[in-house]
Assembly symmetry: C2
Homo-oligomer: 253 residues x 2
Amino acid sequence: MILAALPGIPLVFPGDDLAVLILEGVERAGLVLQDGDLLVVTQKVVSKAEGRLVNLVEVDPSPEAIRLGEETNKDPRLVEVILNESRQVLRTREGVIIVEHRLGFVCANAGVDHSNVQDEGGQQGEWVAMLPQNPDASAQRLRERLQDATGAKIGVMIIDSHGRAWRLGTVGIAIGVAGFPALLDLRGRPDLFGDPLRSTQVGLADEVAASASILMGQADEGLPVIHIRGLPYAMREGTLREILRPRELDLFR
Amino acid sequence: MILAALPGIPLVFPGDDLAVLILEGVERAGLVLQDGDLLVVTQKVVSKAEGRLVNLVEVDPSPEAIRLGEETNKDPRLVEVILNESRQVLRTREGVIIVEHRLGFVCANAGVDHSNVQDEGGQQGEWVAMLPQNPDASAQRLRERLQDATGAKIGVMIIDSHGRAWRLGTVGIAIGVAGFPALLDLRGRPDLFGDPLRSTQVGLADEVAASASILMGQADEGLPVIHIRGLPYAMREGTLREILRPRELDLFR
């Protein structure tokens, strides 16, 4: 399995055509897309290209956001954006609000992050970026554009970096999937000695997201797209929803 | 970054010399180990080579194990082994006991798994495998053996597959680290626009564990060792302890 960061992808701005930037990066890398290739894109550039940005200067925090901002020592305008992106607040501590995101997963601060977008005057504003409105759909749109342009049957994943309940450090995690199995179901496949497997479902999309994240670095948008070749699993249609644990199976809410 | 499963590694049995099996696999793959290479080994073969096995036939369950076995519909002898490997039971449901493992991480069933070891008579016994006694030390021993044999300065990681609190499917996760940073601390490194980073610690060992896990498959021991070249981070001494979340920062216990 070979992973390579596409070189030379520029900073992305609202309205940019990400498919074109990716195709240019593929060419710059000397690659020709093949059936079964996977492109993994960080949500930061998808969100920016889609204009999923808010200038905090224009946000009027609700009383709930003001209260939660005091409790967590966070900017109440930022908290307002976080709450708008969330179904439910699960835990809080200094600087962190753990929520169930409107997309169904549990994460810190609803994936809302400061953005390096600049105001028109060239000043760095108080912009924050939200996750894409529908990352599965964003991945699918990119996939179709890239397939149309190249003729290759590929998968596209959009990833973010999340913390974990019991481990330090963030890891890359899938938030949108197209043309790729998010969850691999091995139930019933016998092991070497013919026993049916007990540990049966593999979070393949998250494993792949983590592997791509290694090459993206964390400091900037410098390497936002990773090309993966040689995945040992067949492509199929997929969606993030496969990998979200149903609430009734959640022991830690 | 290139990942390759070492081909032809045979089933491992107690007392086998894993370093020799890995070196043979490296040669079979046509590889020559280089400085900065990483070898990722599934705990299943480390545990077996180290004889970390119990035959349930010989286990006498405690009253606590019997009670918990009834509660979770699990074999009380298996529960006894799980409890012996655990500091604390955190949650239970049908078939699953979530514990704080004696090694400090939270996982299901204390990482105890059925094993395909056979009895001397050739019958498949009721053997289960526990995690290595000290996976950091196991990784370090393997590392020293491989370095002595090849002269290359490499890292070794031992990994397992764990479930997650809010996502379905298991992912590869580090349980032992030698010569490799488990946690990457980016605190204070400025982003593209000079702002100090907020999301600051990367669970690098777990990202790498997940990437290796993709190639191991899940069904057997067929591909228990993955060779990784081209990691974009400098090697250093490391330990699993870096990546364990301190109890006082745990919001979900």
